[in-house]
Symmetry: C2
């Protein structure tokens, strides 16, 4: 069962396995550098649906179905499902997963949802009460743009600090049986708000939350950045990553060598015109559930800190002049059962 080794840093005694995982993405993501690692690439980013929102729901359904199939699991064998997304009232999840008939816990963690859902799935499996729990999230460029920014037809100009919402979904099934990757530990994030108000610079708003969580994890575990192959943030993008380096340096940690960011990895910055990188719940979800987890399974990577970051604002809070609170949840994933 889980034990506490610091304020909301948990050590998982059973080292739950990520028994299977899947990532499904849209056309643009499929043209990016991680092309070979995705389970499905939808050239029709509407997935045959009649709205962008329904397409996003379909992405979640496809990702979870694919993960279940790869793990040789039926829906009956999944005891809990943790899911959420960016859409108002999280309709990506509720409509995408309603036919699954799996006990469901809805989450809202914005772009931190992949880490939050995976953390709760690991916690429930490690407690011994659950054999298999699934974690799912998604985002869709078109549903996010029209909800958070402008109608696509308007053709608004994007400043260089803006990130590009990923069309994609990732699903992972955590189990008490199965091979690598294993979930060793986790740290739950706190809401951090350092007063950033620019909705076109989410990376800067989220970097302080990432720095807070990562610093607490390193301090609670007595480890250093060089103990890990990779310290992976969700989607700080290029601007937020640089800010994270500065904040971590002030806390006594240089993470430049180990750090990468899902928002930097999913697109080719030069060729794909995405400004500050990818973003959205589906960004860290689809990078984790493809390139990263397969790397831990094959042994290409050994020890990874996965930390998805989320901005907890809405268009209404922004219009009311509020600053942008953010959060980051962390998981320590490994290729071997350690400790």
């Amino acid at each position: 069962m889980p034990s506490s080794i610091g304020r909301a840093t948990f050590r998982f005694e059973r080292r739950p396995s990520i028994r299977s995982f899947a990532a499904v993405v849209g056309k643009k993501e499929g043209e990016g550098p991680l092309h070979d690692f995705f389970d499905r690439i939808f050239i029709d980013t509407k997935l045959g649906q009649d709205s962008w929102e329904k397409a996003e729901s379909q992405l979640q359904k496809e990702a979870l179905s694919c993960a279940m199939q790869k793990g040789g699991l039926s829906a009956e064998e999944i005891e809990l499902l943790f899911a959420g997304d960016l859409l108002n009232q999280c309709i990506g999840s509720s409509y995408g997963l309603r036919d699954m008939n799996i006990p469901f816990m809805g989450l809202y963690g914005a772009c931190s949802t992949m880490a939050e859902s995976l953390l709760l799935a690991a916690f429930s499996v490690d407690s011994g009460a659950v054999k298999q729990a699934a974690a799912v999230t998604s985002s869709h460029f078109c549903s996010a743009e029209r909800q958070f920014r402008y109608p696509l037809e308007y053709g608004g100009v994007r400043p260089p600090t803006a990130q590009w919402t990923v069309t994609g979904s990732g699903a992972a099934i955590v189990s008490d049986t199965g091979g690598a990757p294993y979930i060793q530990m986790a740290t739950v994030g706190k809401i951090c708000d350092l007063g950033v108000t620019d909705i076109n610079n989410m990376g800067a708003a989220m970097a302080p939350a990432a720095a807070d969580t990562l610093t607490r994890f390193l301090q609670d575990t007595g480890t250093r950045p060089e103990d890990y192959d990779l310290i992976l943030t969700g989607d700080l993008g290029f601007v937020g990553s640089d800010l994270l380096y500065e904040l971590m340096e002030a806390n006594g940690f240089d993470i430049r060598t180990q750090h990468n960011d899902c928002g930097k990895m999913i697109f080719d910055r030069e060729a794909q015109d995405v400004h500050a990188g990818g973003s959205g719940c589906g960004c860290s979800a689809s990078v984790l559930c493809s390139y990263i987890l397969s790397g831990l399974r094959s042994g290409r990577m050994q020890r990874v800190l996965f930390m998805a970051t989320g901005a907890l604002m809405s268009t209404v809070s922004n219009q009311q002049g509020e600053t942008i609170p953010a959060i980051a949840h962390l998981l320590f994933l490994s290729a071997q059962k350690e400790g």
Copy 2:
């Protein structure tokens, strides 16, 4: 630690205590039949803020602060905070609780959030990894009306099946030490969708989810409705409650004697002109965290099934012609540690 006694029905070995709780409400709720049980009644339903959304955030802050004070607990002693609300991107919670500096897990369960957050808090405490976890949610009539229905100034006419969103917040602190009430068991809900499309008849959309969860709990535990003092649903209101009776009867259970509904209890139907009763996350939260939990503490009640129901739709899904999926999570609360 928790153990499974059915598909997502959990028995909590430690019987976590609801160590303290608080409910804060607006003027109309304060004029209702539960007047004497609320911790604070705000005559100014803007709580001195400059927007309804900020007022809702303030409600959550007041409820949690009050619960911490009543439990003799500082924010440092709360290890995890589970919270969510109805507003887009759950800004009621993120802005209301950002200054607390407590590790935070955001949830979206619509009006089921009080049960979902309490269930996860109980699960985390029962696992042994956490000493204290808090569960918080809220709703506000004015922020909900303008988000989901019409601007208040429009003066839209409400049909008789419509429910009235409660202005209020409830907070409960689950602890491994403390007296009654105790959390004995819980059942996680599944998403149910029987094809209701009328957003002015949420009770009917949510009743099938409540029937599914309650039936599973009774079957998994081998108990009958008469084994409980009270079977309390979140906010089915008058219309949804009648439908629940029919659905339960078809499953072999007559719950009419034991059943009540938070949406029926919070307002005086005759005097307060609320049509089909109260609704919103804050409805079940403020009824639970006042009249119900105090009744279990004093011994006025002995065994209560608390089941909050949520409709997992959005204005966008409704405009796109979608039906309304719903969910209900259940907790078995008791005045004595049993079993």
